[in-house]
């Protein structure tokens, strides 16, 4: 009796194919039944389907918009406005969280006991409290307790802080300010060439050039030189109290401020732990080898430890950035007009097209996170330690 004549069910290939066919059939049945249900439900409730609602007039205002928007624009436009607001809060949050997180993470490793304890207390406090609670705290308990516009806290009569938000002067670009923009671009081009030249020089001769110092000098002198040369075309507009609120200048609404503060404080506590473990993960032999070569302590950190630690730090760091972006959807709880709030909130309530809207919203976040993980994989392949 040959093996083949045995019961077909014990054949591994057959079993594997059978299971997969069963799985596909189950999945297809599942999707068929929910789609069927959804279609009949939508019909009985009189809800339209399809994406044509994106061209309808929205009819509601949005408190903060980076592009032109009013009630007469379409739902498609509200999607864009929400997306840009999400991007705004995420980028600001990522910037602050990175700075704060690295500071706390390095403080955690400080040789000063008190500094490292304070950093530990910071991390353990903010990591263990829900983000939503922190957002509420900053918004309702801190920012809503600020004085009214008439009694605003002010800094040198140009920066004002009150219950309506933070107001500070904005630059007004007049004719001739293009020259300054060009000067900045020119400075950046110079810096790129300088950096290339310096690294070439280092490989050839071993001599180092203080590129960073030169870059700062270039970035300051070139634009300021052109500023005076073109007859000072930038003026400053100060916020002024008119009626019940401030006009002019740049204003940051309290919702944005609370969200950015909460997101960056919360995420920084995670970034700090990532930075600490990344630096700790660099083999101590590396530090000792650097010391044996006679490198001073700060150069050991800068040239030996940090570059190796970054390899460990960057992947979890990006996933924290992604978390921050996803967490920015909590904006809805305090009424900051982000994507979830204006699109999956107001637009959904007005049109009732839950399936299309939730799917679009999820697709945005999903695209972002898949894109990030794709880029991260490329990065990982590039920097992965090539061992013997």
């Amino acid at each position: 009796m040959s093996y083949k004549n045995q019961n077909l069910f014990y054949n591994p290939t057959f079993r594997s194919i059978l299971f997969q066919v069963l799985a596909v059939a189950l999945l297809a049945f599942f999707f068929y039944s929910i789609i069927d249900n959804a279609l009949s439900n939508l019909e009985s409730r009189g809800i339209a389907t399809g994406l044509s609602f994106l061209n309808q007039e929205a009819g509601f205002g949005i408190g903060l918009s980076l592009v032109e928007y009013d009630e007469t624009h379409t739902y498609g436009r509200t999607f864009v406005v929400g997306l840009l607001n999400t991007a705004l809060v995420s980028i600001l949050g990522i910037l602050f969280a990175t700075v704060l997180g690295f500071t706390v993470g390095i403080a955690r490793l400080s040789s000063n006991w008190l500094v490292s304890r304070c950093a530990a207390v910071y991390i353990e406090t903010f990591r263990n409290i829900p983000l939503l609670l922190q957002i509420f705290f900053w918004y309702f308990a801190v920012l809503q307790a600020l004085p009214s516009p008439r009694q605003s806290l002010s800094l040198g009569e140009s920066v004002f802080l009150n219950v309506r938000g933070l107001f500070f002067p904005s630059p007004v670009f007049e004719e001739g300010s293009n020259l300054i923009g060009m000067a900045i671009v020119l400075a950046i081009v110079f810096i790129i060439f300088l950096a290339k030249w310096a690294s070439n020089k280092q490989t050839l001769t071993g001599q180092q050039t203080p590129v960073f110092r030169y870059s700062i000098i270039l970035l300051i002198t070139l634009p300021s030189f052109s500023f005076f040369l073109s007859g000072m075309p930038i003026s400053i507009e100060y916020p002024e109290l008119k009626g019940f609120n401030f006009r002019g200048g740049i204003s940051i609404i309290p919702e944005l401020a609370a969200l950015v503060v909460a997101l960056s404080v919360y995420t920084a506590s995670f970034i700090a732990e990532i930075v600490r473990s990344g630096i700790n993960a660099v083999n101590h032999g590396q530090t000792e080898a650097a010391m044996a070569l006679g490198l001073p302590k700060n150069k050991t950190l800068k040239l030996v430890v940090i570059p190796q630690a970054m390899r460990i730090i960057i992947p979890p760091l990006t996933s924290q950035y992604l978390n921050l972006t996803k967490n920015s959807s909590l904006a809805m709880a305090i009424g900051y007009p982000d994507l979830v709030s204006v699109f999956a909130g107001t637009t959904l309530n007005q049109t009732g097209q839950a399936i299309e809207i939730i799917t679009m919203t999820m697709a945005v976040y999903l695209t972002l996170s898949l894109l990030t993980s794709f880029l991260m994989n490329i990065y990982n392949d590039k920097v992965a330690l090539v061992e013997r």
Binding site: S16, F19, Q20, A23, V24, L27, S33, I34, N37, A38, S40, N41, L42, S44, S111, N112, W113, L114, V115, C118, E124, T125, R127, N128, I129, P130, L131, L132, L133, F136, F137, F140, A141, K326, N327, S329, L330, M332, A333, V340, A344, L348, A354, I355, I358, T361, M362, Y365, L366, L368, S369, L370
Partner: protein
Amino acid sequence: MSTHQFQPNLPPPANTVGVITWLKKHLFNGPVNSLLTIIIAYLAFNGLWSAVNWALINADWIGTTRDACTSEGACWVMINVRWDQFMYGFYPTEELWRPQLFYGLLAIFVALLAYEHTPKKVAIWLVFVNIFPFFATFLLYGGVLGLPVVDTHLWGGLLITLVIAIVGIVVSLPIGVALALGRRSEMPIIRSMCTVYIEIWRGVPLITVLFMASVMLPLFLSEGMELDKLFRALIGVVLFSAAYMAEVVRGGLQAIPKGQYEAADALGLGYWKKMRLIILPQALKITIPSIVNTFIGLFKDTSLVLIIGMFDVLGVGQAANTDPEWLGFSTESYVFVALVFWVFCFSMSRYSIYLENKLHTGHKR
């Protein structure tokens, strides 16, 4: 012949031990550090002192109305008055023994499972996972043995936070294990299905998942079928955390040396026996700390259910702030809610660190 006698150990040099040396080494090594120490000590002391002053010394504790809050500090009367709401939501007063019994049993189970030397731990664990949830459902919801039904919209406070977190973890763990095995399976269709599932749920924010569960899910059910709001939220939480759990378990599966798989194959074990007897026990053991960490994340995320209109601890606190009789005490309620979450999360994270050290044996690489 005299035997060789070792000299007693000399004491360590005087400049390496003692309080003064410790202070010198850790707080005052160099002028910059000394200055930093003094400034931070001053700030920390001031901050701590004013916090203690506000929260304990100048605070009001007893009373029933806001008139009881006369001093400058915190007004804990507000928490006192709403204590039952924070603990049980709007659960009927005469039925409060039911959530209390639930808390008591839960505490006993957690204590038994957390303690290292409990006998028959596996049996307790199985009871906790398989029997306790059903018992708790009947106890809290009622409808059997003459217990009156308490509708889930009356549940709230810590009760709902714990229910969501525990159901989330207990249900999502087996799903997560299945997904992790599927993602490492050799069948291409199964593998890609599991991968797609995991990546989709991990890529979207929980709040959109909760929205989906509360507005999209009713559309997917056939007409006439109504799902309870809490149940819908639970479905969303379970689907979401199963994806995270799957990645945690996959990490554990990958950490098991290939030799273990090969040895199981060499013994002639089939796939399920191999997984059940050889791989999963080892993999789950090393992933316990990560599972606890996932649970901490889930526990914090339960607060999001307030956005779809449920009253968890934070929801009760938020409702308390808008009560016209108690306006202006939002800091107190936030501090209290934060403390509740912090105590839970911090103790769990300490426990996970303790486990990690204890399990730092065997296959940890």
